[in-house]
């Protein structure tokens, strides 16, 4: 894509003759080339999953967190640039808290995600700022049921049955479309989502990776929580085994 901007991509306050703002599109690339993140809505809740490569052997596992709790009923995964994403999470904390203080009720997810999208958009209006290189993949459970929202750096915010961002998202999305997520419970969907994520990995690569899982459902009392460690470990291992099984089956058929 380099070279296409030619002159119209030097500042976020410049439009190209076709009406594109290249800096915002380039910021989107930070998310597109970042760690794969998946969010799905199930019958009784929602799940977030992030696949992170192990950066260095010397780092403690699970210390490089990408999923954050915004409030009791809401959490967020952060693809792309982690520091930029933490700005969004921090803003989400404030929005949720101030809303509760002023209106006496927990912030509806639609309101929160629209406000976050507006927040991201503001960075594309001023020459002195740069757009954020991350997005907010939000999972929540409010009066309207479970939600998955993606608030992107260009300022749009949409609600999804299931969505993937980052490397390999096209493949993950294709797999998600085949599933009947609305008929699964979050427990059932955990393994399925892991499999979707893991199948997109480059099989030849032997790099270690870690899958971060979080959920919110009727089972968790509508509270956003990390999936308990032993369950998460078990789920990832089961998913790995099943993928190997399916691969060897398909090899045999061939």
């Amino acid at each position: 894509m380099s070279g296409v901007g030619s002159g119209y991509d030097l500042s976020v306050t410049t439009f190209s003759p076709e009406g594109r703002v290249f800096q915002v599109e380039y910021a989107g690339k930070a998310t597109d080339n970042g760690v794969p993140c998946v969010g799905v809505c199930c019958k009784d809740g929602a799940i977030l999953a992030v696949e992170k490569p192990e950066e260095t052997k010397m780092m403690l596992p699970q210390s490089n967190r990408r999923i954050f709790t915004v409030s009791r009923h809401c959490g967020m995964a952060v693809p792309g640039k982690l520091p930029d994403g933490r700005q969004i999470v921090s803003r989400a904390h404030q929005e949720a808290e101030q809303y509760k203080r002023f209106y006496g009720e927990t912030i509806p997810t639609k309101v929160l995600c629209d406000r976050l999208a507006n927040f991201c958009h503001v960075f594309s209006l001023y020459w002195s700022l740069r757009p954020l290189g991350s997005a907010a993949l939000t999972a929540s459970f409010d009066d309207q049921g479970p939600h998955i929202y993606l608030s992107e750096t260009n300022g749009v915010s949409y609600r999804y049955y299931g969505i993937a961002v980052g490397k390999g998202r096209q493949g993950i999305k294709t797999e998600l479309e085949r599933l009947k997520l609305g008929e699964m419970t979050t427990r059932e969907a955990l393994k399925v989502v892991c499999k979707c994520l893991m199948r997109q990995r480059d099989e030849s690569s032997n790099k270690k990776y870690e899958i971060e899982l979080a959920w919110i459902s009727e089972e968790t009392g509508r509270e956003f929580q990390r999936v308990p460690e032993d369950l998460a470990k078990q789920t990832v291992e089961d998913a790995k085994k099943e993928i190997e099984q399916e691969d060897s089956d398909s090899d045999m058929e061939a």
Binding site: R101, F102, Y103, G104, E105, K110, V111, D114, D143
Partner: protein, 230 residues
């Protein structure tokens, strides 16, 4: 806290109340606005709409409570637009009124009752006395006349009344307060809010029951013809 200046200020020495019944709420108030011993308005409306299906009963300084009602209306309208809904929950309206009352407690003289109906929690009454506490209650009374009817209301409110029972109860309570409190009088206004409608009614002055052999008024509230300005 009452200095000479506040005697000149227009006050709603008042009786206000609200109570829940099976399926909604009834708000009630008298209609006397007094400035010292002068009755500035004998047919005031102390029950103000905050947003769809949510009303506010005002007691204390007329100016303060009208300002609070104005702000509540503003914030609730904006809130409804952000939510994409027609109205707001009673809890939200009450919280906003409480925030204003509490933040400005040094300068304010206002006791208010927020009551209404919303889809999630049905009929709700919240009372915000002077100082800015917020309390979720099944019924509440306020204003200078309320002290005379506290025991009556405590004794006679029952849960799951019908709409007509509740209206009669509110009217009786307010008229009892009017008969003892010099700062309350005029007509007995009621607003009944439920899922389907908001009904504003009033009992004219000559029909308000009397309890102490008072001489009944014969004139009642005069009919006022509205003449459009040419």
């Amino acid at each position: 806290m009452m200095n000479k200046k506040s005697q000149e200020e227009v006050l709603t020495g008042t009786t206000i109340m609200a109570c829940t019944y099976e399926g909604g709420v009834v708000l009630g108030a008298d209609s006397r606005t007094s400035s010292g011993s002068y009755v500035a308005n004998r047919a005031a409306d102390k029950i103000t709409k905050c947003c769809d299906r949510v009303y506010l009963c005002r007691s204390g300084s007329a100016a303060h409570t009208q300002a609070v009602a104005g702000y509540a209306n503003l914030y609730l309208n904006q809130h409804a637009v952000e939510l994409g809904q027609k109205g707001c929950s009673v809890k939200t309206a009450a919280n906003i009124v409480k925030e204003i009352a509490y933040t400005n407690k040094q300068w304010m003289n206002a006791g208010m009752i927020v009551a209404g109906w919303d889809a999630k929690n049905k009929g709700k009454v919240f009372v915000i006395p002077m100082g800015g506490t917020l309390m979720d209650v099944p019924f509440a009374v306020g204003g200078s006349g309320s002290i005379y009817i506290n025991a009556f209301v405590d004794r006679n409110w029952k849960p799951e009344m019908t709409k007509d029972e509740c209206k009669a109860f509110v009217r009786k309570a307010v008229s009892l307060a009017i008969s003892r409190d010099g700062s309350s009088g005029g007509v007995v206004r009621t607003v009944t809010v439920d899922e389907h409608e908001e009904v504003k009614e009033f009992v004219p002055g000559n029909e308000v029951p009397v309890y102490q052999d008072e001489i009944r008024s014969t004139g009642g509230v005069p009919k006022v013809e509205f003449v459009p300005v040419p």
